[in-house]
Structures are given as C-alpha cells and as structure tokens.
C-alpha cells in the first residue's frame, strides 16, 4: 500500500489541495522532483511579483491620495502651491519603473507644487528626488559626510542610471516600512 497515492482533496491551510500535496510530497523519482522544483519556483515567482505589484499599487494609491490632499494652494499653511498634476503623473511613472530590488520610497509634497520621493534610512542617510513639471528631475542626497545634488532626465521608460546608483548606495537592502 502506497501512501503516495492517497490523495486528500481537502484544502490545506487555505491553499488548493494540489498545491499542498506538492509541498507535502515525499516522491523520490528525479522527474517528480524536477517537476516539483519547477512548480515551486513558478509559484514563488508569482507570489513575489504579486507582492511587489501590490506594494507598488499601494504606493501609487498613496501618491494620488496625497495629491488630492495637497491639491489646494496653501496646503501647508505657509503658502505652498498645489501639487501639480504633471508632477504626480511623473512620480507615478517613476514608481512603476523602479526595479524590484529598490525599496519603495516615502512620498512627500513640496511647497513649490513638486512631488518628492524620499528614501530615509537614517537622518544622515537620505536620497530625495523631486518631480516638477518637466522631465528634468532635481535630486540630492546625504550619506554621512558625503552629499551632493544634480539633475537627471527621466524618459518615463527607465530610472536614470545615476539616480538608480544613488538610491542603491544609500537605501540598498533597506526596506521602507
């Protein structure tokens, strides 16, 4: 009597029975092992991309809520300009093309109507990019005693290399809460 043929079709921990079966399987043939490994790899990849996609959707949703909250002049009580629609679209496009290994930023409105995407690792480890009304992005960083600022062009297709390097240098391996 083989226990491998005894299939329980009830859901396992809320997961489909077949998926649970594969996770529990004790099959020892090399083919079955390869199939199982491949299946698990696909499942993990789907799970990872869904989680990433969900996080980006959440960040974009936060961006638009913030744009709505800061859509009126003087949102800061100090005479700030309303968040510019172009800035919001630009910031959204940037979030969409952020590579998977880059942690998602905090989103901050700026008094001139720009949208800032900030990576805060520590008070003296910060990288910040501003999205104004054109494709030129103002950015600045502080990394201990190293600091600087520059401008880079964003084509909407990929994060400019110098910005990507800067974020990786400061926030690499750091996950924003």
């Amino acid at each position: 009597m083989s226990t491998a043929l005894s299939i329980d079709t009830r859901p396992f921990n809320g997961l489909p029975a077949a998926w649970a079966l594969e996770r529990q399987s004790t099959a020892i043939s090399s083919e079955a092992g390869l199939v199982r490994e491949a299946r698990l790899a696909v499942e993990d990849a789907i799970e990872h991309s869904q989680s990433l996609y969900g996080a980006k959707i959440e960040a974009i949703s936060t961006l638009w809520s913030l744009a709505d909250a800061c859509g009126q002049a003087n949102w800061d009580g100090e005479g700030a300009r309303p968040a510019a629609l172009n800035s919001v679209y630009m910031a959204e496009g940037f979030i969409r093309v952020l590579p998977e290994d880059i942690p998602l930023p905090e989103i901050t409105p700026e008094p001139d109507g720009s949208i800032g995407l900030d990576w805060f690792v520590a008070p003296r480890r910060v990288f910040s990019v501003s999205f104004g009304t054109n494709h030129r992005l103002a950015y600045a960083w502080l990394d201990g005693t190293d600091r600087g600022h520059a401008v880079a062009r964003f084509d909407g297709e990929a994060v400019p290399g110098r910005i990507l390097d800067g974020i990786r240098r400061i926030a690499g391996g750091f996950c924003a809460p």
């Binding site: 005479g79 008094p111 001139d112 800032g116 900030d118 910060v126 501003s130 104004g132 103002a138 600022h149």
Partner: protein
Amino acid sequence: MPVRQGLVSRLLDRLRGLFSAGGGPVREPGVGLSSGLSPDVADSEPLARFLRSSKLFSAQKKIVKPAAFLPNPRDGKTSVFRHPGAPAAELWALGCRKLGEDARIHGAGIVRARDARVEGLEVAASEPPPRHANIEGWPTDGDPELQKAARKEAAIALAARAKLLLREP
C-alpha cells in the same frame, strides 16, 4: 532765533549721521523689535519651524522631512519662530497666537540658527509678528532644476539636524 536754529541744525546733523553710510540706523540689542529680542539672531538660538501638514514629518521615524524646510516659492524664505527654549506648551501657544487659533499645528522642527548658517543660509529677524524670523539666502541658479536640487541638498542637511517636537493631541 539763533539758539533754536542751532539746536535744529545739530539735531538734523545727528539724524543724518545715524542714517548715513551704514544704510540705516544703528540698533541697540533689544531695541527695535516688538518682542524685545535682539535683531541679530544668535547662532545658538533655537528656531521652530511649525509643522502644519502631517505630510512634512514622520512621527513613526521621529524625523522632520526635508521638504518642511524648503523655502516658500513666493518669497524664497523659510518662516520660523525664535523658540525661547521654554516648555513646549509655550511654543504651541506662540504658534496659535501668531498663526491663528484655528491653525492646526502638528508639531515643530527645531534647529539652531547655526545649523542654517553652516549650510550657507542666513537667519534674519523679521517682525512682526513677534519672534518671527526667516531662513533665507537659499542657493540660486539660472537653471531652475539645478537650483531646486541645491536647495534640496541644504534642506536635507538642515532636516538631518532637526529635532521633531510633536504637539500632544
């Protein structure tokens, strides 16, 4: 009458002297400001940047965001109040008096005048209202984005030195 003319003449000379060369009258410390504070903001003076939007700080991380210190786009200055170093309750009372009772003040970012000066910025008293001052002299550049980037760098450095003081609900 010669005596009276002489007095008027001396008075006029004195007034001319006060307003000559220096571009304005010489002010004694504590004179000329309605608050009674010195017109010169000392390096060690704490400055409070009132936070009226919850988007400009993180209570969780206990940080003031750099955007909180970026200058107002209308006048290129960052409005602050010279914080007497008294209990926080007095700071909130000051904020409500100056910004209006209905002004929602979440907290304040506290920096010292020297923190701004080491960034090449200046702190100038600007009353009324009493105790008001501006952080000014933000970098300028013919390229608007490069100017913004330079200002961000200074604001990041200023925010890194800021202490977040939250107002109790």
